[in-house]
C-alpha cells in the first residue's frame, strides 16, 4: 500500500463517476455518478491525511465535508426531481433542457 495506489483508486472511482454523470439521461442515475465521484474524493482525502499530514486533522475535515456534500447533493437532487416531475412530468436531463425553449 502506498499513497500512489490509494490515489489511483480515487482517480478510478472519480473517472467512473464522471462517466456516469456525463452519459446518463435520467437525473437520478446522474446523481449516482456524482456520489461515486465524491467517493473518490473521500478516498483521496483520507489517503493524503494518512500518508502526508497525519498530525493535522485537516484531511479528516475534508472527508467530513465530502460526506456532507454527498448527503446534501442527493437530497437537493431528489427534491428538484420531485418538483420537476410534479409540475412538468420531467425526469430526464434532456427533457429538462427542452423546458427553456
Amino acid at each position: 500500500m502506498s499513497l500512489e495506489l490509494f490515489l489511483l483508486l480515487a482517480a478510478a472511482l472519480f473517472s467512473i463517476g464522471l462517466f456516469g454523470a456525463l452519459t446518463q439521461q435520467s437525473i437520478v442515475m446522474l446523481m449516482m455518478g456524482l456520489e461515486l465521484m465524491l467517493g473518490g474524493v473521500i478516498v483521496g482525502a483520507a489517503a493524503v491525511w494518512h500518508y502526508i499530514a497525519p498530525a493535522a486533522a485537516d484531511g479528516q475535515v475534508l472527508v467530513v465535508l465530502a460526506v456532507t456534500v454527498m448527503a446534501v447533493e442527493m437530497v437537493v437532487g431528489f427534491a428538484v426531481v420531485t418538483a420537476l416531475f410534479r409540475s412538468r412530468e420531467v425526469d430526464m436531463t434532456d427533457m429538462a433542457a427542452e423546458l427553456k425553449e
Partner: protein, 187 residues
C-alpha cells in the same frame, strides 16, 4: 501483508461495483452496487486508520442508498430491469473525456513529488477531529450545519405540494391542519 490483501480486495470490488452501477438494468441492483462500492470506500478509510469516519461512511451510505432506492424505483421507467433499455447520451464522447481525465489524474499521481510523511497520527484521531471541528475548523462546522439546515428547509419547500394555505385555510386560522394523513400527536 493482510492489509495489502484487504486493500486490493476492497479496491477491486469498489471499482467493479462502480462500473456495474451503470451496467445493471435493474435500478435496485444499480443502487445496491453503488452501496457496495461506497461501503468499500468506507473500508479503505477504516484501513487508513480513520475508525470514526470509516464507520460513519458505512452508516450514512447505507441509509442514503436505502432511501435512494425508493427514488430510483419511483422515477425510472424500468425499475426492475425487466425490459432492458438504455437511457444514455453521448457515450463515446463521455468515455473519451473520462479516459483522458483518468490519464491526467494518474499521471499527476505518479509524477508529482509527494512530500514525505510529516508527524505521526495521534493515538485517537477521532478526538483530533472533534477538537479540530470545535476549534480551528469551527467555521467549517458552522457552515456545514447551516448548509444542512438550509437544505432541509429548501427540499421540503421544493418537494411538498401543499403549502400552509392548503393546510390551515386561506386566513391561516384553522386550529388543526387539514392533512390527508393525520399524524400521531392528535393535532
Amino acid at each position: 501483508m493482510p492489509d495489502e490483501v484487504i486493500f486490493w480486495v476492497l479496491a477491486l470490488v469498489a471499482v467493479a461495483a462502480g462500473v456495474m452501477v451503470f451496467r445493471f438494468d435493474s435500478m435496485a441492483r444499480a443502487t445496491y452496487a453503488l452501496l457496495t462500492s461506497l461501503l468499500c470506500v468506507g473500508g479503505e478509510v477504516l484501513l487508513l486508520g480513520l475508525d470514526y469516519l470509516g464507520v460513519v461512511i458505512v452508516l450514512m451510505m447505507t441509509i442514503e442508498m436505502a432511501i435512494m432506492a425508493v427514488f430510483m424505483v419511483m422515477y425510472m421507467m424500468n425499475p426492475a430491469g425487466l425490459m432492458p433499455m438504455t437511457m444514455v447520451h453521448n457515450k463515446k464522447g463521455a468515455a473519451a473525456i473520462c479516459a483522458a481525465v483518468f490519464a491526467v489524474l494518474a499521471a499527476g499521481v505518479l509524477l508529482a513529488p509527494w512530500p514525505s510523511r510529516r508527524g505521526r497520527p495521534s493515538a485517537d484521531p477521532t478526538m483530533d477531529l472533534g477538537l479540530s471541528l470545535m476549534g480551528p475548523q469551527m467555521l467549517t462546522m458552522m457552515a456545514l450545519g447551516l448548509a444542512l439546515f438550509a437544505t432541509i428547509v429548501a427540499t421540503v419547500v421544493l418537494a411538498t405540494r401543499r403549502g400552509r394555505y392548503d393546510r390551515f385555510g386561506d386566513d391561516l386560522k384553522a386550529r388543526t391542519p387539514d392533512d390527508a394523513v393525520r399524524g400521531g400527536t392528535g393535532r
